[in-house]
């Protein structure tokens, strides 16, 4: 973020007088905007209910544009997911998407994101957990939503995340003898020589 440097208000072009030209031109930090949050009514209800119902699991509730985001400690994942599916106030019976995001900064972490949807209540949410990059390992949710099967196998291929308790964690989209994890940020996009 912008550091309050010696030349106060230096990033305002209107008062750039002799002060800013005397010092070497400093590149202005890009001011990255955040996408605005606008939860739909059912999302607001859900965001209220989640901390009440899942009080024992040390969850953090936030929001991303129109979806409720729930951060869960990695060792509570299966319990939370089980409750989200079975508890009639949530009823998340549909796993839309399971994915891994490789966050390089600050110290290399994987985020596993579960996109859930409830056919009964027609509401949606994301569940997120963080894993260390050195030994990424998390319990499988195939016992809760069978549709997680191939998603987990694919993420195992591309990111090397281990899903404990998955019935058949063999390569799905990559060849058996493939070396490395091409989904990760440190894997180059083109690692072949021109020929």
């Amino acid at each position: 973020m912008t550091s309050q440097g010696s030349s106060g208000g230096g990033n305002n072009p209107s008062n750039s007088g002799a002060k800013s030209t005397s010092s070497p031109v400093k590149r202005r930090e890009p001011q990255v905007q955040r996408a605005a949050v606008a939860l739909p009514p059912e999302g607001l209800v859900l965001a209220e209910r989640l901390p009440e119902r899942l009080a024992t699991h040390k969850i953090e509730v936030g929001a991303a544009i129109d979806e409720v985001v729930c951060r869960v400690p990695a060792d509570h994942l299966v319990d939370v997911c089980r409750q989200l599916k079975d508890d009639p106030t949530f009823g998340f019976d549909y796993l839309r998407l399971l994915t891994v995001v490789d966050y390089v900064d600050p110290d290399g972490e994987f985020e596993v994101v579960y996109h859930l949807y409830s056919m009964k209540h027609r509401h949606k949410m994301m569940v997120k957990i963080r894993l260390p990059e050195r030994r990424p390992s998390i319990s499988s949710v195939t016992g809760i939503w069978r549709g997680a099967d191939w998603y987990e196998r694919e993420m195992h291929d591309l990111f090397g995340v281990e899903f404990e308790g998955h019935p058949n964690l063999v390569p799905l989209v990559l060849p058996e003898d493939f070396d490395g994890f091409p989904g990760r940020k440190n894997y180059p996009l083109n690692d072949y020589e021109e020929w």
């Binding site: 890009p30 990255v32 905007q33 955040r34 996408a35 605005a36 991303a64 544009i65 129109d66 979806e67 019976d93 549909y94 796993l95 839309r96 998407l97 994915t99 995001v101 490789d102 994101v113 996109h115 056919m119 027609r122 994301m126 939503w145 069978r146 549709g147 997680a148 099967d149 191939w150 058949n168 063999v170 390569p171 799905l172 989209v173 990559l174 060849p175 058996e176 003898d177 091409p182 989904g183 894997y187 996009l189």
Partner: protein, 385 residues
Amino acid sequence: MTENAAPTNMGSTITQVPNPEPGTVDMMVNMGPQHPATHGVFRMELRVDGEQIQDLVPHIGYLHRGSEKLCEHELYSQIITLFDRLDYVSNFNNELVIVSAVEKLMDVAPPPRAELIRIIMCEFNRIASHLLFYGTFAIDMGAITPLLYNFRDREKIQALFESVSGARMMHNYFRVGGVKEDVPDDFESRSLALCNELEHGIDETDRLLTGNEIFLERTSGIGVISGEDALDWGLSGSVLRASGVSYDVRVDEPYSRYDELDFGIPVGSAGDCWDRFYIRILEARESVSIIRQAIALMEPGDTMAKIRRIARPPAGEVYAHCENPRGDLGVYIVSEGGERPYRLKIRPPSFCNLQALRDLTVGHYIADAVVILGTLDIVLGEVDR
């Protein structure tokens, strides 16, 4: 792979099992990857007792191109071309997903005319995709004729696409904030005329196949999946609706201007192959009605919002999805505020639908496996990405 890891044959988990009956043994059969009935490069490993399937292991990945990784290195406008190539028989629907995701993240709305053009193109594309389905599905069962009729109609749709976007496939016509250019002058009259022809074509397929005795024998009661199982597997689209679950993104989470249009969502009850086929006939008819309504709503105006040429959405994460001919196609974008996404993940409907194949086929005959795979209507470009 370590030395003491269990030896695997391309990820196979099937082992030869001796049959308790004397003198017979279960046979392993490989179907694909080069097999016309697998609709692309897809391999099924079957363990069969005579003609009956005892176990099935699907193998995918032959077309894996790393599209998601590639997307993370491209500008948002360039990603549209990659989305064209996911599900290569419904290009417009794919383009709509990525542009609406970026628009949602940037909080821009395309002009009303552009929204309607998008809807019309997407619905035409849905019909084109379903026409291809009827034809290839009939071929899966040995009927060659319907394909010829369906391709005749599909060709007309593609001619319309060509007049609008300049390409029969891989259009790259939608843009973040609108569409590339306005439609030609004769677009409305041409579309309405085409709607009449398509309606006739769909009726023709309906008469030719739906009530046919052999067709009914081959499809009804085959490959049944219940609504709960379908949800558990994460199925979507016609496959889910055939099992009695009413879920269509156009209605349940309306995007674009679908909330202004009046259309029905056909829902099946049996969850068998016949339902999955007939639902697509009904859906195509609904699409014709959507197109007519959308054309009636069209008014002259801009086709592009006033935004920067290079999209630079703010930091944040977004999940946007649309109802594709194959199901619920979604995209999850994590943006750091640059002109390229940090992470992009596609929710491919064919990939999810294909997962249930084993449950659907075990206990049926090999010839039925071909029919069941046909009704899942997969496109391998999207399964493998």
